[in-house]
Amino acid sequence: MIKMIVNEWCMYCGECAAVCPRSLIEVRENSLIFNEGCKDCRICLQVCPVQALKKEENSDLS
């Protein structure tokens, strides 16, 4: 399963959630929730205005 790390400087603007083709990201006032089912398209990582998201290394092998 792919695990995402949300860095501390995330501002919960929701741009990642808006572009996720599988609608897996929930944006709350002060948290992000990644639901299961990620296919590693990495669009969320690319669009983040502050590069706050990171994929946990080797997380897709576990």
Partner: protein
């Protein structure tokens, strides 16, 4: 706990509050919920609206939320050549007033409350299912879970709209249609003209533009939007470079930092389904050329509120009835967006050199008496591909 209502609106930005106000004014029982603890904060935008737009919505400008009245637009090419347009010469889309969104958004929600809407803040919608000619939304507030059964649910929950997806609408935005934006609110900004907004085009902001929106005194929103499909750097990195190089911000200091996505691909095709409508950024009701969406969101909210209240009165909340909202949006908002989308595509196709030569050709032209056809004729002289890309539009 189960609450029942005629209309539930999710998201209390300008779109949601406008919808709530007009639905309530037209006699419906309305609940407006927002996940945040403070409506309007943090802002995600540059805060510009047109005077004409506010007038159309019958909203009287208030000194509580207008920070600056503008008289012109300065457009800068990559080499610094400027073309200056003032209000008398050209209708300025997002350039009438600069708002204080934190205050404006709250006031719009207050207007909705005064019209009769019930507001619940720090209330998050967590799911939605179909009921008998209704939708049932699960929500939580301060650790308490409850349900709201509503004859019509309206999603006004921003570009990341989950509510639209729950209803089965295609609201996912492609990265090529999503401006990734970053902005500082700064003090100590020295603008060429503190009564004009500035747009900077070219490689400072690949796939978008950079802006300086004055907020009175030496204060300005300094930001930019980029397409992440056009650059490897983040919006924040581009912003740092822009602020470092822009003459106006050499002695400026930030007091606020904002980010967000701006859906600029044109209005979504499907805005309604049975018992459901979508409005504002959630429906991509954003001018694809300027990226401005406050007025179009509120105008769509006006139509949504009126159509939803009429549907409640008639006891028919089917898609066939609610489609009237979509038709009014297409007629009054979507058509113009389609034209502006073409202009944007042309603008984004220009290299820094092309932008420079266009600006040089236009900087001395007397724009006072020029009509659009002459403007385009002049443009084609320096940029022949304008004929191909824009010829049919004007």
């Amino acid at each position: 706990m189960l609450i029942e209502t005629d209309i539930l609106i999710i998201g209390a930005g300008p779109a949601g509050s406008s919808t709530a106000k007009h639905a309530a004014l037209n006699g419906a029982e309305v609940i407006l919920i927002d996940k945040k603890s403070e409506i309007g904060a943090p802002k995600r935008c540059a805060e510009g609206v047109s005077k004409e737009g506010l007038k159309k919505l019958k909203i009287e400008p208030s000194s509580r939320w207008v920070t600056k009245e503008l008289s012109g637009v300065l457009m800068k090419a990559p080499n610094g050549t400027s073309v200056w347009l003032n209000e008398e010469k050209v209708k300025l889309p997002e350039a009438g007033y600069i708002l204080e969104r934190k205050v404006f958004d709250k006031h719009m929600a207050m207007d909705a409350a005064r019209a009769g809407a019930k507001i619940m803040i720090k209330t998050l919608a967590t799911g939605m299912r179909r009921g008998n000619d209704s939708l049932i939304v699960t929500a939580e507030t301060m650790g308490e879970e409850f349900e709201i059964k509503s004859k019509i649910v309206i999603g006004a929950d921003g570009p990341e709209s989950r509510v639209g997806r729950w209803a089965g609408l295609k609201t996912t935005i492609k990265p090529k249609n999503m401006e990734s934006c970053a902005q500082f609110e700064m003090a100590g900004v020295k603008m060429d003209d503190p009564n004009s907004i500035e747009f900077h085009f070219g490689s400072v902001a690949p796939g978008g533009y950079a802006w300086l929106f004055p907020k009175g005194d030496d204060i300005a929103n300094v930001g930019l939007g980029i397409l992440t499909t056009e650059t490897d750097k983040s919006a924040y990195q581009h912003l740092l470079e822009f602020v470092k190089n822009c003459p106006a911000t050499q002695n400026a200091q930030p007091v606020e930092f904002n980010i967000g996505g701006d859906p600029v691909g044109g209005m979504l095709k499907e805005l309604v389904t049975d018992n459901f409508m979508i409005v504002g950024d959630a429906a991509s009701q954003v001018n694809p050329l300027t990226g401005g969406g406050i007025i179009s969101a509120m105008e769509a909210g006006l139509y949504a509120g009126q159509v939803a209240a009429a549907a409640i009165r008639d006891g028919d909340c089917s898609k066939a009835r609610l489609i009237k909202y979509q038709e009014r949006c297409e007629e009054n908002i979507g058509k113009k967006f389609k034209r502006d989308l073409k202009v944007k595509e042309y603008l984004l196709s220009l290299s820094d050199e092309e932008l420079n030569s266009i600006a040089e050709a236009f900087q001395d032209i007397e724009l006072d008496n020029i009509n659009t056809a002459e403007l385009i004729k002049n443009l084609i002289k320096v940029s022949p591909k304008a004929l191909l890309k824009l010829g049919k539009l004007f």
